[in-house]
Protein backbone atom coordinates (compact mmCIF):
# COMPACT_ATOMS: atom_id res chain seq x y z
CA UNK A 1 0.00 0.00 0.00
CA UNK A 2 2.81 2.37 0.95
CA UNK A 3 4.69 1.43 -2.19
CA UNK A 4 1.67 1.95 -4.39
CA UNK A 5 0.91 5.35 -2.93
CA UNK A 6 4.50 6.58 -3.08
CA UNK A 7 4.95 5.34 -6.66
CA UNK A 8 1.77 7.09 -7.76
CA UNK A 9 2.89 10.25 -5.99
CA UNK A 10 6.35 10.10 -7.60
CA UNK A 11 4.84 9.74 -11.06
CA UNK A 12 2.34 12.53 -10.43
CA UNK A 13 4.92 14.95 -9.00
CA UNK A 14 7.52 14.34 -11.68
CA UNK A 15 5.20 14.49 -14.70
CA UNK A 16 1.70 15.99 -14.71
CA UNK A 17 2.13 18.35 -11.74
CA UNK A 18 5.19 20.23 -13.10
CA UNK A 19 3.58 20.29 -16.55
CA UNK A 20 0.48 21.88 -15.02
CA UNK A 21 2.51 24.38 -12.98
CA UNK A 22 4.43 25.32 -16.12
CA UNK A 23 1.15 26.19 -17.79
CA UNK A 24 0.03 28.42 -14.92
CA UNK A 25 1.41 31.90 -15.63
CA UNK A 26 -0.48 33.23 -12.61
CA UNK A 27 2.26 31.71 -10.43
CA UNK A 28 4.78 34.19 -11.85
CA UNK A 29 2.91 36.97 -10.08
CA UNK A 30 4.11 35.54 -6.76
CA UNK A 31 7.64 34.52 -7.76
CA UNK A 32 9.01 33.84 -4.31
CA UNK A 33 6.15 31.55 -3.35
CA UNK A 34 6.29 29.91 -6.79
CA UNK A 35 10.00 29.12 -6.38
CA UNK A 36 9.19 27.51 -3.02
CA UNK A 37 6.44 25.44 -4.63
CA UNK A 38 8.78 24.24 -7.39
CA UNK A 39 11.34 23.25 -4.79
CA UNK A 40 8.88 21.32 -2.66
CA UNK A 41 7.32 19.55 -5.67
CA UNK A 42 10.77 18.46 -6.87
CA UNK A 43 11.88 17.43 -3.39
CA UNK A 44 8.68 15.46 -2.82
CA UNK A 45 9.02 13.78 -6.22
CA UNK A 46 12.55 12.60 -5.47
CA UNK A 47 11.72 11.52 -1.91
CA UNK A 48 8.64 9.58 -2.94
CA UNK A 49 10.54 7.85 -5.74
CA UNK A 50 13.23 6.80 -3.25
CA UNK A 51 10.60 5.91 -0.65
CA UNK A 52 8.63 3.79 -3.11
CA UNK A 53 11.65 1.60 -3.81
CA UNK A 54 12.68 1.30 -0.18
CA UNK A 55 9.18 0.51 1.05
CA UNK A 56 8.97 -2.32 -1.48
CA UNK A 57 12.15 -3.70 0.02
CA UNK A 58 10.82 -3.61 3.55
CA UNK A 59 7.45 -5.01 2.48
CA UNK A 60 8.80 -8.01 0.59
CA UNK A 61 12.10 -8.41 2.35
CA UNK A 62 10.45 -9.54 5.55
CA UNK A 63 8.67 -12.38 3.77
CA UNK A 64 10.18 -15.80 3.29
CA UNK A 65 11.03 -17.20 -0.10
CA UNK A 66 12.93 -16.34 -3.22
CA UNK A 67 10.17 -14.17 -4.72
CA UNK A 68 10.31 -11.88 -1.73
CA UNK A 69 14.06 -11.50 -2.00
CA UNK A 70 13.88 -11.04 -5.76
CA UNK A 71 11.34 -8.22 -5.55
CA UNK A 72 13.27 -6.61 -2.72
CA UNK A 73 16.49 -6.74 -4.70
CA UNK A 74 14.84 -5.21 -7.75
CA UNK A 75 13.31 -2.41 -5.71
CA UNK A 76 16.60 -1.72 -4.03
CA UNK A 77 18.30 -1.59 -7.41
CA UNK A 78 15.76 0.91 -8.68
CA UNK A 79 16.25 3.13 -5.64
CA UNK A 80 20.01 2.89 -6.08
CA UNK A 81 19.72 3.93 -9.73
CA UNK A 82 17.61 6.99 -8.88
CA UNK A 83 19.95 8.00 -6.08
CA UNK A 84 23.06 7.23 -8.15
CA UNK A 85 21.92 9.32 -11.09
CA UNK A 86 21.20 12.26 -8.80
CA UNK A 87 24.59 12.06 -7.11
CA UNK A 88 26.48 11.60 -10.36
CA UNK A 89 24.66 14.44 -12.05
CA UNK A 90 25.20 16.64 -9.00
CA UNK A 91 28.89 15.90 -9.08
CA UNK A 92 29.24 16.49 -12.84
CA UNK A 93 27.17 19.66 -13.00
CA UNK A 94 28.81 21.09 -9.87
CA UNK A 95 32.34 20.34 -11.03
CA UNK A 96 31.72 21.80 -14.46
CA UNK A 97 30.01 24.94 -13.19
CA UNK A 98 32.79 25.62 -10.71
CA UNK A 99 35.51 25.06 -13.31
CA UNK A 100 33.88 27.44 -15.80
CA UNK A 101 33.37 30.08 -13.11
CA UNK A 102 36.92 29.78 -11.77
CA UNK A 103 38.44 30.16 -15.22
CA UNK A 104 36.08 33.00 -16.03
CA UNK A 105 36.77 34.79 -12.76
CA UNK A 106 40.53 34.51 -13.25
CA UNK A 107 40.23 36.15 -16.65
CA UNK A 108 37.82 38.82 -15.45
CA UNK A 109 40.17 39.74 -12.62
CA UNK A 110 43.04 39.92 -15.04
CA UNK A 111 41.32 41.89 -17.79
CA UNK A 112 38.59 44.01 -16.26
CA UNK A 113 38.98 47.24 -14.37
CA UNK A 114 37.27 47.74 -11.05
CA UNK A 115 34.14 49.82 -11.22
CA UNK A 116 35.54 52.72 -9.21
CA UNK A 117 38.46 52.96 -11.63
CA UNK A 118 36.07 53.27 -14.56
CA UNK A 119 35.24 56.73 -15.88
CA UNK A 120 31.49 56.17 -15.65
CA UNK A 121 30.54 55.67 -12.06
CA UNK A 122 27.61 57.94 -11.40
CA UNK A 123 25.35 54.87 -11.51
CA UNK A 124 26.63 53.33 -8.31
CA UNK A 125 26.67 55.14 -4.98
CA UNK A 126 30.12 55.07 -3.42
CA UNK A 127 30.62 52.34 -0.88
CA UNK A 128 28.16 50.00 -2.52
CA UNK A 129 30.78 48.63 -4.87
CA UNK A 130 32.27 46.60 -2.04
CA UNK A 131 29.05 44.59 -1.76
CA UNK A 132 29.89 42.68 -4.92
CA UNK A 133 32.81 43.79 -7.00
CA UNK A 134 31.69 45.40 -10.24
CA UNK A 135 34.16 44.75 -13.05
CA UNK A 136 34.18 46.62 -16.32
CA UNK A 137 35.41 44.86 -19.46
CA UNK A 138 36.89 46.97 -22.23
CA UNK A 139 34.51 45.77 -24.95
CA UNK A 140 31.92 47.53 -27.05
CA UNK A 141 29.27 44.79 -27.16
CA UNK A 142 26.84 45.51 -24.32
CA UNK A 143 26.82 42.73 -21.80
CA UNK A 144 25.94 42.37 -18.13
CA UNK A 145 26.06 39.26 -16.03
CA UNK A 146 27.05 37.95 -12.64
CA UNK A 147 29.66 35.46 -11.55
CA UNK A 148 28.41 33.83 -8.38
CA UNK A 149 30.75 32.60 -5.69
CA UNK A 150 30.96 32.37 -1.94
CA UNK A 151 33.52 35.10 -1.28
CA UNK A 152 34.52 36.19 -4.76
CA UNK A 153 31.30 37.05 -6.54
CA UNK A 154 31.48 39.62 -9.30
CA UNK A 155 29.13 41.66 -11.42
CA UNK A 156 30.63 42.00 -14.89
CA UNK A 157 29.58 44.82 -17.21
CA UNK A 158 31.11 45.71 -20.57
CA UNK A 159 32.16 49.30 -21.24
CA UNK A 160 29.69 49.34 -24.14
CA UNK A 161 26.86 48.93 -21.66
CA UNK A 162 27.66 52.31 -20.14
CA UNK A 163 27.48 53.90 -23.60
CA UNK A 164 24.07 52.48 -24.45
CA UNK A 165 22.29 52.83 -21.14
CA UNK A 166 21.36 55.86 -19.09
CA UNK A 167 22.99 55.94 -15.62
CA UNK A 168 19.80 54.94 -13.79
CA UNK A 169 19.39 52.04 -16.22
CA UNK A 170 22.92 50.84 -15.48
CA UNK A 171 22.03 51.18 -11.80
CA UNK A 172 18.97 49.00 -12.36
CA UNK A 173 21.05 46.35 -14.11
CA UNK A 174 23.58 46.29 -11.27
CA UNK A 175 20.78 46.09 -8.68
CA UNK A 176 19.32 43.15 -10.62
CA UNK A 177 22.62 41.28 -10.73
CA UNK A 178 23.35 41.98 -7.06
CA UNK A 179 19.94 40.58 -6.17
CA UNK A 180 20.91 37.32 -7.90
CA UNK A 181 24.16 37.17 -5.95
CA UNK A 182 22.63 38.12 -2.60
CA UNK A 183 19.84 35.57 -2.83
CA UNK A 184 22.22 32.89 -4.17
CA UNK A 185 19.91 32.20 -7.11
CA UNK A 186 22.81 30.30 -8.64
CA UNK A 187 22.41 27.51 -6.06
CA UNK A 188 18.72 27.23 -6.89
CA UNK A 189 19.43 27.04 -10.61
CA UNK A 190 22.21 24.54 -9.98
CA UNK A 191 19.84 22.24 -8.08
CA UNK A 192 17.28 22.28 -10.88
CA UNK A 193 20.02 21.82 -13.48
CA UNK A 194 21.21 18.75 -11.57
CA UNK A 195 17.69 17.38 -11.51
CA UNK A 196 17.25 18.01 -15.21
CA UNK A 197 20.60 16.45 -16.10
CA UNK A 198 19.85 13.40 -13.96
CA UNK A 199 16.41 12.87 -15.48
CA UNK A 200 16.35 14.66 -18.83
CA UNK A 201 13.41 12.70 -20.23
CA UNK A 202 10.09 11.19 -19.15
CA UNK A 203 9.75 13.73 -16.37
CA UNK A 204 9.00 17.44 -16.60
CA UNK A 205 12.41 18.47 -15.30
CA UNK A 206 12.93 20.75 -18.32
CA UNK A 207 9.72 22.64 -17.51
CA UNK A 208 10.85 23.02 -13.90
CA UNK A 209 14.26 24.36 -14.90
CA UNK A 210 12.82 26.75 -17.48
CA UNK A 211 10.23 28.10 -15.09
CA UNK A 212 12.64 28.51 -12.17
CA UNK A 213 15.05 30.38 -14.46
CA UNK A 214 12.29 32.81 -15.33
CA UNK A 215 11.19 33.14 -11.70
CA UNK A 216 14.64 34.12 -10.44
CA UNK A 217 14.85 36.75 -13.18
CA UNK A 218 11.46 38.09 -12.07
CA UNK A 219 12.69 38.18 -8.46
CA UNK A 220 15.84 40.08 -9.44
CA UNK A 221 13.79 42.43 -11.65
CA UNK A 222 11.58 43.18 -8.66
CA UNK A 223 14.60 43.92 -6.47
CA UNK A 224 15.85 46.35 -9.12
CA UNK A 225 12.37 47.87 -9.42
CA UNK A 226 12.28 48.53 -5.67
CA UNK A 227 15.42 50.68 -5.82
CA UNK A 228 15.25 52.15 -9.33
CA UNK A 229 11.61 52.06 -10.44
CA UNK A 230 10.15 49.84 -13.14
CA UNK A 231 10.89 51.98 -16.18
CA UNK A 232 14.71 51.92 -15.92
CA UNK A 233 14.58 48.12 -15.51
CA UNK A 234 12.32 47.69 -18.53
CA UNK A 235 14.31 50.15 -20.67
CA UNK A 236 17.56 48.40 -19.80
CA UNK A 237 16.04 45.02 -20.71
CA UNK A 238 14.90 46.24 -24.11
CA UNK A 239 18.09 48.18 -24.87
CA UNK A 240 20.33 45.22 -24.05
CA UNK A 241 18.14 42.70 -25.89
CA UNK A 242 18.14 45.01 -28.93
CA UNK A 243 21.88 45.24 -29.12
CA UNK A 244 22.69 41.58 -28.79
CA UNK A 245 24.50 39.82 -31.63
CA UNK A 246 22.40 38.89 -34.68
CA UNK A 247 23.38 35.20 -34.58
CA UNK A 248 21.24 35.03 -31.48
CA UNK A 249 18.18 35.21 -33.72
CA UNK A 250 17.70 31.43 -33.52
CA UNK A 251 16.96 31.46 -29.85
CA UNK A 252 13.69 31.55 -28.00
CA UNK A 253 14.70 33.52 -24.95
CA UNK A 254 12.92 36.66 -26.09
CA UNK A 255 9.43 35.49 -25.17
CA UNK A 256 10.53 35.40 -21.56
CA UNK A 257 11.85 38.95 -21.81
CA UNK A 258 8.41 40.13 -22.92
CA UNK A 259 6.90 38.28 -19.97
CA UNK A 260 9.40 39.94 -17.62
CA UNK A 261 8.39 43.40 -18.85
CA UNK A 262 4.70 42.56 -18.45
CA UNK A 263 5.39 41.35 -14.93
CA UNK A 264 7.22 44.59 -14.10
CA UNK A 265 3.92 46.37 -14.57
CA UNK A 266 2.29 44.34 -11.82
CA UNK A 267 3.37 45.60 -8.42
CA UNK A 268 0.40 44.46 -6.38
CA UNK A 269 1.35 42.07 -3.57
CA UNK A 270 -1.20 39.26 -4.36
CA UNK A 271 -1.16 38.19 -0.71
CA UNK A 272 -3.98 35.66 -0.95
CA UNK A 273 -2.38 33.95 -3.94
CA UNK A 274 0.99 33.89 -2.21
CA UNK A 275 -0.49 32.31 0.93
CA UNK A 276 -2.26 29.68 -1.17
CA UNK A 277 0.93 28.82 -3.09
CA UNK A 278 2.98 28.59 0.12
CA UNK A 279 0.29 26.36 1.64
CA UNK A 280 0.39 24.10 -1.43
CA UNK A 281 4.18 23.96 -1.18
CA UNK A 282 4.04 22.96 2.48
CA UNK A 283 1.27 20.41 1.88
CA UNK A 284 3.22 18.75 -0.95
CA UNK A 285 6.04 17.87 1.39
CA UNK A 286 4.31 17.56 4.76
CA UNK A 287 1.19 15.52 3.93
CA UNK A 288 2.86 12.50 2.28
CA UNK A 289 5.52 12.53 4.99
CA UNK A 290 3.01 12.64 7.83
CA UNK A 291 0.47 10.16 6.51
CA UNK A 292 2.59 7.69 4.57
CA UNK A 293 6.30 7.94 5.22
CA UNK A 294 6.18 8.37 9.02
CA UNK A 295 3.74 5.47 9.69
CA UNK A 296 5.83 3.29 7.41
CA UNK A 297 9.08 4.25 9.16
CA UNK A 298 7.44 3.83 12.57
CA UNK A 299 6.41 0.34 11.49
CA UNK A 300 9.98 -0.46 10.58
CA UNK A 301 11.39 0.08 14.06
CA UNK A 302 8.66 -2.21 15.33
CA UNK A 303 9.47 -5.03 12.90
CA UNK A 304 12.73 -6.36 14.35
CA UNK A 305 10.98 -6.61 17.71
CA UNK A 306 8.23 -8.72 16.21
CA UNK A 307 10.73 -10.90 14.36
CA UNK A 308 12.78 -11.42 17.52
CA UNK A 309 9.68 -12.28 19.57
Amino acid sequence: MTTLFLSALAVLLSGPVPALLGRTPLLRRVPRAAVTLWQSVSLAAVLSALGAGLSLVTDRGTREGWTGYGVALLALLLTAVVLGRMLLSGHRVGTRIRAVRRRHRDLVDLLATREHEAPERASVPAGRTAEAGVRVLAAQAPLAYCLPGLARSRVVVSAGTFDRLAPEEVGAVLAHERAHLRARHDLLLEAFTVLHTAFPRFVSSATALREVRLLVEVLADRAARRTHGRLPVARALVALADSRAPEAALAAGGARLVERIRLLEDDRPHRLLAVAVYAAAAATVVLPTAFVALPWLAGLTWLPGVAAG
Binding site: V100, L111, Y145, L189, E190, R230, A251, G253
Partner: protein, 128 residues
Protein backbone atom coordinates in the same frame (compact mmCIF):
# COMPACT_ATOMS: atom_id res chain seq x y z
CA UNK B 1 43.83 30.37 0.70
CA UNK B 2 42.78 33.40 2.79
CA UNK B 3 40.94 36.11 0.92
CA UNK B 4 43.67 38.72 1.53
CA UNK B 5 46.34 36.46 0.06
CA UNK B 6 44.13 35.50 -2.88
CA UNK B 7 43.49 39.11 -3.75
CA UNK B 8 47.22 39.92 -3.47
CA UNK B 9 47.93 37.03 -5.84
CA UNK B 10 45.30 38.37 -8.22
CA UNK B 11 46.82 41.83 -8.08
CA UNK B 12 50.31 40.45 -8.76
CA UNK B 13 49.04 38.34 -11.65
CA UNK B 14 47.61 41.50 -13.16
CA UNK B 15 50.88 43.35 -12.68
CA UNK B 16 52.88 40.56 -14.32
CA UNK B 17 50.48 40.31 -17.25
CA UNK B 18 50.63 44.08 -17.70
CA UNK B 19 54.42 43.83 -18.03
CA UNK B 20 54.16 40.99 -20.55
CA UNK B 21 51.56 42.87 -22.55
CA UNK B 22 53.73 46.00 -22.53
CA UNK B 23 56.45 44.34 -24.62
CA UNK B 24 55.79 43.99 -28.36
CA UNK B 25 54.06 40.99 -29.89
CA UNK B 26 57.04 38.71 -30.33
CA UNK B 27 58.71 39.79 -27.13
CA UNK B 28 59.58 37.30 -24.44
CA UNK B 29 60.58 38.16 -20.89
CA UNK B 30 62.48 36.12 -18.35
CA UNK B 31 61.41 36.00 -14.72
CA UNK B 32 64.42 38.21 -13.93
CA UNK B 33 63.35 40.82 -16.46
CA UNK B 34 59.79 40.86 -15.13
CA UNK B 35 61.14 41.11 -11.59
CA UNK B 36 63.35 44.07 -12.52
CA UNK B 37 60.41 45.91 -14.06
CA UNK B 38 58.10 45.22 -11.12
CA UNK B 39 60.77 46.10 -8.55
CA UNK B 40 60.86 49.68 -9.88
CA UNK B 41 57.50 50.44 -8.31
CA UNK B 42 57.19 47.93 -5.49
CA UNK B 43 59.03 45.80 -2.98
CA UNK B 44 58.81 42.30 -4.34
CA UNK B 45 60.91 39.14 -4.04
CA UNK B 46 62.26 37.33 -7.08
CA UNK B 47 60.75 34.04 -5.87
CA UNK B 48 57.33 35.66 -5.59
CA UNK B 49 57.50 36.70 -9.24
CA UNK B 50 58.50 33.15 -10.11
CA UNK B 51 55.55 31.73 -8.21
CA UNK B 52 53.13 34.14 -9.90
CA UNK B 53 54.45 33.32 -13.36
CA UNK B 54 54.22 29.63 -12.62
CA UNK B 55 50.57 30.10 -11.65
CA UNK B 56 49.89 32.05 -14.83
CA UNK B 57 51.54 29.31 -16.83
CA UNK B 58 49.38 26.63 -15.17
CA UNK B 59 46.31 28.67 -16.08
CA UNK B 60 47.58 28.77 -19.68
CA UNK B 61 47.60 32.55 -19.61
CA UNK B 62 51.28 32.73 -20.52
CA UNK B 63 53.48 30.66 -22.82
CA UNK B 64 56.70 29.24 -21.48
CA UNK B 65 59.88 28.67 -23.48
CA UNK B 66 63.16 27.22 -22.34
CA UNK B 67 66.13 29.43 -23.07
CA UNK B 68 69.34 27.89 -21.83
CA UNK B 69 68.98 27.52 -18.08
CA UNK B 70 66.16 30.04 -17.73
CA UNK B 71 62.55 30.14 -18.87
CA UNK B 72 61.16 32.93 -20.98
CA UNK B 73 57.56 33.95 -20.92
CA UNK B 74 55.09 35.55 -23.28
CA UNK B 75 51.41 36.44 -22.82
CA UNK B 76 49.27 33.71 -24.40
CA UNK B 77 47.34 36.37 -26.31
CA UNK B 78 47.07 40.15 -26.45
CA UNK B 79 44.87 41.89 -23.94
CA UNK B 80 42.27 42.69 -26.60
CA UNK B 81 42.19 39.12 -27.91
CA UNK B 82 41.77 37.73 -24.38
CA UNK B 83 38.94 40.18 -23.67
CA UNK B 84 37.21 39.20 -26.91
CA UNK B 85 37.66 35.54 -25.97
CA UNK B 86 36.19 36.14 -22.56
CA UNK B 87 33.15 37.90 -24.02
CA UNK B 88 32.65 35.08 -26.51
CA UNK B 89 32.92 32.52 -23.75
CA UNK B 90 30.34 34.37 -21.68
CA UNK B 91 27.94 34.62 -24.63
CA UNK B 92 28.34 30.90 -25.27
CA UNK B 93 27.41 30.18 -21.68
CA UNK B 94 24.25 32.26 -22.08
CA UNK B 95 23.16 30.75 -25.36
CA UNK B 96 19.94 28.76 -25.04
CA UNK B 97 21.29 25.76 -26.90
CA UNK B 98 24.27 25.37 -24.66
CA UNK B 99 23.17 26.55 -21.25
CA UNK B 100 24.65 24.89 -18.26
CA UNK B 101 24.05 27.60 -15.77
CA UNK B 102 27.55 28.68 -14.84
CA UNK B 103 26.79 32.32 -15.62
CA UNK B 104 23.55 34.25 -15.53
CA UNK B 105 23.03 37.05 -18.06
CA UNK B 106 20.81 40.07 -17.53
CA UNK B 107 19.07 39.39 -20.83
CA UNK B 108 18.92 36.22 -22.86
CA UNK B 109 18.70 36.03 -26.61
CA UNK B 110 15.84 37.42 -28.62
CA UNK B 111 14.76 37.03 -32.26
CA UNK B 112 13.83 40.12 -34.35
CA UNK B 113 10.08 39.42 -33.89
CA UNK B 114 10.59 39.07 -30.18
CA UNK B 115 12.47 42.35 -30.08
CA UNK B 116 9.51 44.04 -31.75
CA UNK B 117 7.22 42.51 -29.13
CA UNK B 118 9.63 43.73 -26.45
CA UNK B 119 9.49 47.30 -27.72
CA UNK B 120 5.69 47.11 -27.78
CA UNK B 121 5.61 45.86 -24.20
CA UNK B 122 7.92 48.69 -23.17
CA UNK B 123 5.75 51.27 -24.96
CA UNK B 124 2.72 49.93 -23.10
CA UNK B 125 4.61 50.24 -19.82
CA UNK B 126 5.81 53.78 -20.60
CA UNK B 127 2.31 55.00 -21.40
CA UNK B 128 0.61 53.10 -18.59
Amino acid sequence: MPVALTSRMGELERAVMDELWSVDDDGWLTVREVHERLARSRDIAYTTVMTVMDRLSKKSLVRQQRDGRAYRYQAAASRGAMTADLMRGALEEFSERDRRGALVAFVGEASPEERAALREALAALESG
